[in-house]
Symmetry: C2
Subunit: 153 residues, 2 copies
């Protein structure tokens, strides 16, 4: 393997990682402070990222799009041996969890939409009878519902 300067093996500066990942440098600092990513340093203390950090940052972004808080994403990354960037196998395992989360969220929103449809035109908004007002009746019982995404656990 020839080690060409500027080759695919050269580590990335924070500016490069930022541009390629679409994540601001300040956010990358933030992720590092919170243990989501790591970097080596040059003699002059500047960060140098291995190229697999691109995948790791991509993983973080995707997980965020699914709706997961950084804390959960961090736990998922921590659950990998050596805290390594997800490999294909890891990704398969983790993404099925993401998939379930997505399914739940979609189901919860669809449920809410059904309720909304039932209520449009009735205008009741009655605390007693309107299912939109009493999500605990059904959503609460199933553990789903939009609140799930605003609460611990």
């Amino acid at each position: 393997m020839p080690q060409v300067p500027g080759s695919a093996h050269r580590p990335l500066s924070i500016g490069e990682l930022s541009e390629r990942s679409g994540v601001s440098a300040s956010a990358l600092h933030f992720y590092e402070r919170n243990g989501l990513i790591t970097a080596e340093r040059t003699a002059g203390n500047q960060r140098r990222y291995r190229r697999e950090m691109l995948r790791r940052v991509a993983f973080i972004k995707t997980s965020q799009r699914v709706g997961l808080p950084l804390k959960d994403i961090r736990e998922a990354l921590d659950s990998l041996p050596d805290g390594r960037t997800p490999t294909k196998r890891d990704w398969t395992r983790l993404s099925s969890r993401w998939r379930r989360e997505l399914d739940e969220r979609i189901a919860a929103l669809q449920h809410l939409r059904n309720d909304l449809d039932g209520c449009i035109g009735c205008g009741c908004l009655s605390l007693k009878s309107c299912t939109l007002q009493n999500p605990a009746d059904e959503l609460g019982a199933t553990g789903a519902g939009a609140q799930r995404w605003n609460q611990p656990g």
Copy 2:
């Protein structure tokens, strides 16, 4: 109309509104500070809510469940003549907007889920080729996508 003490016309204290609406008193204070609800005061400066505030608070909660920030909910309420609590007609108009928002959110999540399904097993997470990493390709073009919910406008 007989004005029975304890009848359906008696205004509600903050404790009563809190219990009936399921919204904490501190949150009701907060909503008031932010112009989402209003209250009359007793001679002793305690809040007294008209019973229609129940509907108004219910409206706020439901809108939050749809995913709207309080700012937007406030704007919707402000858009009503006299800043009144939504009537049946108002509710119909506003709820169709909520309905559209819900539809968009569901569609965005389903899109993400499709992408996720396409990626499970490939493990690529390549910034160049993976649609999960480049939502701008399609989601961006359609104006949908989960990012929509994290950005102004």
